[in-house]
Symmetry: none
């Protein structure tokens, strides 16, 4: 019987690569099943099949169904939030108008870019009891918005936390509807334009402008 080789990380790359590939396949399969059959009929077996692995393997990577869904959700949300954060970072110090355009565009773009996943995940959040995941991501976004707004030249906001709350919460609905084709004429650009107007109009009506002298 040969002694165990002392190398604790044998074939590290290939194995990790395989893992990564499997996880990727499972994520993709989850979205596919969600899209094709809905959350109601999403079963772990079905996902595994679609991913080309066995259920057992799926359970090697995710402790249970809920964790799987949460993972998919998290991945999507992180992607969206990161784009929003980037937009916030980039428009720091610019005009309110530029900020709003940047953020709204980033959000719409992030959602539509990954439209299938967005659509698939609609409804999953609610099923994930508490939805603290969404809460967490929303917080991150709001924090970024806060930081950005603080750099708006000549602007000051009372109740900043409410402002970011309303902004984020109000922005989601119209975009979600876009994904479901509930928006009239499916005019993505038009809706984005309107969203910009809405948010900008909102901010302007609650901002305290530093009076112009000095």
């Amino acid at each position: 019987m040969p002694t165990r080789s002392p190398s604790y990380k044998p074939r590290k790359m290939p194995i990790q690569a395989r893992s990564a590939h499997t996880v990727e396949a499972v994520f993709h399969a989850t979205v596919q099943v969600l899209l094709a059959l809905g959350l109601e009929r999403l079963t772990t077996t079905r996902v595994a099949e679609r991913a080309g692995v066995s259920v057992g393997t799926l359970y090697q990577y995710f402790p249970n169904k809920e964790a799987l869904l949460a993972s998919v959700m998290r991945r999507h949300l992180v992607g969206v939030v990161e784009q929003v954060e980037a937009a916030c970072e980039q428009t720091k110090g610019h005009s309110l108008d530029a900020m709003v355009s940047g953020v709204v565009d980033a959000f719409v773009h992030a959602k539509l870019d990954d439209a299938n996943t967005s659509r698939a995940l609609y409804g999953v959040a609610a099923a994930l009891g508490g939805a603290s995941l969404v809460e967490e991501m929303t917080q991150r976004a709001r924090l970024a918005l806060c930081d950005m707004l603080a750099t708006a030249p000549g602007c000051r906001f009372d109740e900043l936390s409410i402002v970011t709350y309303v902004w984020t919460a109000a922005m989601i609905g119209p975009v979600q509807g876009l994904l479901e084709n509930k928006a009239p004429q499916a005019a993505v650009d038009t809706v984005r334009e309107h969203l910009r107007h809405m948010v900008l109009g909102y901010l302007q009506s609650v901002v305290k402008t530093d009076d112009r002298m000095a």
Copy 2:
């Protein structure tokens, strides 16, 4: 206060009233179970128990679980939409500001007034595949908004359907969050105030004013 009639036929309850009472109890129980256990663990048996009737009875009034949920949903949505429609009707011909205040207040009021149901039903819509119910009610609300906006003195809106779409879709998120205590400080009045500003700011930035004088 009239004395009770001698009740010469002591039917415990008129047959029709009994039915109505049962349905009412089931509706109420559904919301209770939803609130206490969530959609995931909402069983028809559980609902029936909570309602103080047998499953069989429940199935005498609702063909299946989905129909039950849809009924509860519809009832709630109709209630909300009707209040919005009433607000629209009442502010016809008034200023944009009055319209926005009226509608926003009506919506917030309707939702918070029936807060438990609202909270309970969050997530149910998604589970009701297609959710054409929500769609239908949203249409009604948007139609009412159209009619109302058409009477705003000196105002004209291009893309009215988009305007009502964005308005309704944007208004829902912040209010829903309010119900879930996701809003900071839980300041209902403040959020309502902000919503008014947001919608008004939005409308003003997309309206074409008849600058007839000058």
Copy 3:
């Protein structure tokens, strides 16, 4: 408070007439439901509905579902057996040929005359545990056949009970198939002709003829 009138049979006729009418309606409805939905989906409620009465009323006339089915079954079988018995009676003393023709024709006629009921009841017998009903009716028919065969001039049968058993059992299948359109060409007359040949051929090959001398 008037004393009970001593007449023990008040409104006898009308009531019995109503009863008879109700029973009739229920019988008819049972067959209809059986034909339309099959035994599997035959429910007492459904039968009552179709009969235009309430379930409660149905249960006033039949103690339970099984009894209802047994009643319908019995009625049908009695009808058929009686026709066979009559045919037996009428051909007593005639030739074997005449007997066979008489019985086969009577049986086929009885079944096809009440074809809907026959079709509907196929399968019910098996569900009526034991099917002692069928057994009972078959006995009656066989007894009649015995009596009749005993009068066939110049014929004697060993194992008469086996003969009647085989005769009855063999005759049923082909006729049942006729009802279900399983017979080729749906040629009722041809099948009947063949049945006659079959039974006659059978009897002739097992009969002991009294040698012709006087």
Copy 4:
């Protein structure tokens, strides 16, 4: 006989054999339950229990209760039909008498050999709406009979399809009764003898003999 290989991987049972074993157990259990409790009280759970597996396992092999019953049915019918087909094949070119004896004996033997299953399945066909299964198997048998009869020396049959129809349909009843002990004296051999006489008598009375000589 080779010695068992050292079995270096003591799999309790090769995976395929396990499946086959499970299916076999379920089939057997179905018949047992049918015999002991009847179709009415046959539950998938009950069958699974009797088979020593869980319901879930049963459903891994049969999509639903109906399919299970149909499988058991088909298996039985195929077994019977194959024996009839074999008998037909073997008596090709022989005398009518030999043909009839061969087929009748084969049928009776097949049924009685698998008597439990036969008894159990009585009544199942009717519950399997449409019962196209029985129809299908009957067709196979009739086809074989056709082929066989075509080789009877000096015999020609008009309406061959009717002949095979009547033959098969008539043969079933008496044998089924035998299984249920409805035949008097339970004299299997006697009934078989009678069946032979019946069928032979039938065929002789409808055959057109080539009276080539004379």
